[in-house]
């Protein structure tokens, strides 16, 4: 893709003031994840279900000896569920939660699309609009060409403690 080549040039170029975001697709929308928090991208694999966990927690996998939970972003944001296909990817992200503990979690998305660079002033605040995603999980918006990219707040997705999430049954 010429576009992404451009972007890579931008990344490698002098313009170091921006932040790089990995963008992914979810129900036709573009979402961005701070690339420094992305640990790796994996294909979908069978998980071990955790009893009595929220619907969007698919289970846990063995990531080289560490137990990592897998969260389906579609279900997390109450989007219609899709059967997992070959393109379904799991983005493993790592960030500090509210208490400052570093945690890893795998996010199930439809597909990974691109890497973009956005400077802080390009990020606009989330309007209080009827978006698919609750605004507390969004840092802001960036326009990329004629598309809109929603930048996800990874730390907020890591808050999985029972009292905050609520057990909705598996």
């Amino acid at each position: 893709m010429p576009e992404s080549a451009n972007n890579v040039k931008q990344i490698l170029g002098d313009d170091a003031s921006g932040t790089q975001y990995l963008t992914c697709l979810l129900a036709g929308e573009q979402y961005g994840l701070n690339i420094l928090q992305v640990q790796e991208i994996r294909g979908w694999e069978q998980v071990t279900r955790i009893p009595n966990s929220p619907r969007y927690i698919k289970g846990v996998i063995n990531l080289r000896g560490t137990i990592v939970p897998i969260l389906d972003l579609r279900l997390r944001f109450d989007l219609p569920a899709e059967p997992y296909s070959k393109e379904t990817v799991v983005i493993v992200v790592r960030a500090a939660d509210k208490k400052g503990n570093e945690r890893s979690i795998g996010l199930v998305v439809d597909a990974v699309s691109d890497v973009i660079v956005a400077r802080d002033e390009q990020v606009v605040c989330t309007p209080e609009f009827g978006a698919n995603v609750p605004t507390e999980n969004i840092i802001g918006l960036v326009s990329e060409g004629d598309e809109m990219v929603m930048l996800l707040d990874i730390a907020s997705l890591l808050e999985l403690d029972a009292d905050e999430v609520g057990v909705t049954g598996g």
Binding site: T48, P51, N52, V60, I67
Partner: protein, 703 residues
């Protein structure tokens, strides 16, 4: 040159806290009057290291304080002061103050100034108090000012024996003698007896030694100053020459130490026994090191480093070596493999398996430390508490060398303190009471640790009055925990003390009785995957028995299957697994399904309901298997589809990246790389009791 000293701080603090523990246990072992020189030496060395270290790192308050303690210890060591109970007590308190100061220094805070000052003057008082308690010679610090005036020596006798290499260090005995002569009239007597035959004579060596007499009552420090440069390279002693008529018994050789020269004092041999100073110092250090290794580390909870016996590391390296050999053997075999060599391949794989297992065991060994790390604080605790409570209590410990996982040591400390305090406060009676009951005046608390099966068993046993069964029951009824007419066994009643906020102490003391604790104790022990039990005989005593898994990293598990899901049940929780008959089942109204096992009614926990598993095979209880498990003293039967096998599993944390899940204690990775969850039996029972996610009827768990 600036070196960042902060990088050494951690080591310094760690060693200092270890040193404090050495001092403390040493002081506790010391009997007034009959002190063991080795013991005092050990305490002295610990104090000395702390002083030296704190001075280097600029914690001057610590080094000043330690210095006074050291002075006191030095006098005891040299036999110039009797080891009085009073002094030991003061030293013990000083150890506490010192610990506070070090803690404050480590955490960047400041210690309680007033307390430090008070303790400092207390030490000074004991130091000054010497004349009442002993008649030996003076304390080196004050010798010049305080003691010397009483009996002024008229001169000094100096024995100076340079080592052969003295001149090679750039010193000249002649210069020293000349220097000495400037202080006053001297008479010099040279000893030529060491002079070798001419052909063996080494011109650069010194063979002469001198007996010098200084007929001038100068200050001893002036003499020391002259010999300062050569004190490491010679044997040297200064003896005061007393005026005639002076009691010769007191004219023992005074110490060679000046107040800043403890290391010198240590090195400087007396004339009678003259090992070369170097060698002696080295052995001292070695002994010090050995002692440090033997003695408990700081009890401080979360220290992140661990001291490992060198033998364990050697064994590990050995094992890795073996593994590498096996690997290269297999590698060679693989390079050109032929089916005829399959036998060798199998051999190699067996070897690999054995080595891997041994390696695993060795690695686990590294985390194992003797439980004495945890036990070591109890002699002090008992010593302090028994005097506070006016009771006579003897502590007997056994099995201190039992090794347990480091995490266990860290977490078991506080619960143990709590339990021992309870024994002292509630268990052991006052001496009069004991005598009246026909028991010896001194109560005995036994603390023991041992390996039993795959568990560590820690017992706290006292010969006191036992648990007050009726009082506990009355209290529990008052609090509405049980009904008066409930038919409870003794065990059930004793178990009640683990309820939050439960205390039967008539009077809340600062030792115990606030009722915060036993529930915490039990929780801590459960967190470690252990169990706690109480035995008690009225009037005879009680015992608390704690069972802990040997290691927290690995567990023996039974793999079970429910539908397509696999779970691990810790083998320790399993009582038995049975296939039940229709006749054993009964449904108690309001209590759900139960089954009878040897006259006991046990509830059935349908795992697929509790965990919401849809495609389970066994629909009827008689189709599947009931795994009878026990947790927190309760039993129940887990209804599962199948038992798969037993295996050792490595415990992985689920909480690290996810959160705590009720009924699940952790996760593990199976041979095929998939994750299996490990069941937490007490948690699972709670979950089932609450109705779980979809349990049909709430289950009341029978005891």
């Amino acid at each position: 040159m600036s070196i960042d000293m902060a990088q050494f701080h951690q080591v310094f603090f760690e060693e200092s806290f270890e040193g404090l523990d050495v001092m403390e246990s040493g002081l506790l072992n010391m009997d007034p009057g009959t002190a063991d020189v080795e013991e005092i030496n050990a305490i002295f060395r610990a104090a000395h290291s702390i002083k030296g270290g704190s001075g280097t790192f600029g914690f001057m308050n610590v080094s000043d304080f330690t210095h006074v303690m050291e002075t006191l210890l030095d006098e005891m060591r040299d036999g110039r002061r009797q080891v009085a109970a009073d002094a030991i007590e003061v030293l013990l308190q000083s150890v506490d103050v010192l610990r506070d100061m070090l803690t404050a220094a480590r955490d960047g805070g400041s210690a309680d100034e007033a307390r430090v000052k008070a303790q400092y003057s207390e030490l000074q008082r004991v130091l000054a108090d010497k004349h009442s308690s002993d008649d030996a010679v003076a304390d080196p610090v004050k010798q010049a000012s305080a003691v010397v005036p009483e009996v002024q020596p008229v001169g000094w006798k100096i024995v100076f024996r340079p080592h052969p290499h003295l001149m090679r260090t750039g010193n000249d005995p002649l210069r020293i003698i000349r220097e000495l002569a400037t202080l006053g009239e001297t008479s010099v007597n040279c000893d030529l007896s060491e002079l070798p035959a001419f052909e063996e004579f080494e011109p650069e060596d010194s063979y002469l030694s001198w007996d010098l007499r200084l007929h001038e009552p100068v200050d001893k420090s002036q003499i020391d100053e002259i010999f300062e440069w050569v004190e490491d390279d010679c044997d040297f002693a200064v003896v005061p020459v007393m005026p005639e008529g002076y009691d010769p018994a007191a004219a023992v050789e005074p110490p060679a130490a000046s107040d800043q020269a403890e290391p010198v004092a240590q090195k400087k041999p007396h004339l009678t026994e003259v090992p070369p100073p170097e060698e002696r110092r080295v052995t001292d250090e070695r002994r010090n090191e050995a002692e440090r290794r033997k003695t408990p580390a700081a009890a401080a909870g979360g220290s992140s480093s661990i001291r490992v016996d060198i033998h364990k590391i050697d064994a590990l390296i050995n094992m890795v070596g073996e593994l590498v050999i096996t690997q290269s053997m297999l590698g060679m075999l693989g390079e050109d493999f032929h089916i005829s060599r399959v036998e060798r391949l199998r051999e190699g794989l067996t070897q690999l398996e054995r080595h891997t297992r041994e390696l695993q065991e060795s690695v686990m060994q590294i985390r194992m430390v003797p439980i004495s790390f945890s036990f070591s604080r109890f002699p002090r605790l008992v010593h302090d508490l028994s005097s506070k409570l006016n009771k006579k209590i003897e502590l007997k410990m056994s099995g201190e060398n039992t090794e347990v996982d480091k995490t266990v040591i860290e977490k078991i400390g506080d619960p143990l303190v709590h339990l021992v305090r309870n024994s002292l406060d509630h268990g052991i009676e006052k001496p009069e009471e004991r005598l009246a009951a026909g028991k010896p005046e001194t109560g005995i608390v036994r603390l023991s640790a041992s390996h039993r099966g795959g568990n560590i068993v820690i017992e706290i046993r006292d010969d006191g009055r036992g648990l007050p069964r009726d009082k506990i029951l009355k209290k529990a009824v008052e609090r509405g925990l049980v009904k008066a007419d409930d038919n409870l066994s003794d065990k059930d009643i004793y178990d009640l003390i683990f309820q939050p906020g439960f205390s039967t102490a008539e009077q809340v003391s600062d030792v115990s009785g606030r009722g915060v604790g036993m529930d915490v104790v039990r929780r801590n022990i459960n967190e470690l995957g252990g169990a706690i039990e109480i035995e008690s005989t009225p009037g005879k005593g009680s015992a608390i028995i704690i069972r802990l898994p040997l290691t927290l990293a690995i567990l023996d598990g039974q793999t079970i299957r429910i539908g397509k899901e696999t779970y691990i049940v810790p083998l320790v929780s399993i009582v038995e697994s049975i296939q039940i008959q229709e006749s054993m089942l009964n449904t108690v109204v309001g209590r759900g399904e139960t089954f009878t096992l040897r006259e006991e009614y046990l509830p059935v926990v349908r795992m697929h309901e509790v965990f919401g598993i849809e495609d389970h095979d066994a629909k009827r209880l008689t189709d599947g298997i009931l795994v009878v498990v026990e947790g927190e003293g309760r039993k129940c039967g887990l209804f599962v589809d199948d038992l798969l096998g037993q295996q050792q599993v490595v415990i992985k944390s689920l909480e690290a990246n996810y959160r705590k899940v009720e009924g699940i204690s952790g996760a593990t990775i199976l041979g095929d790389g998939s994750v299996a969850l490990i069941l937490d039996i007490p948690g699972l029972m709670r979950l089932a009791k609450q109705g779980g996610a979809r349990t049909r009827a709430p289950l009341a768990l029978t005891a």
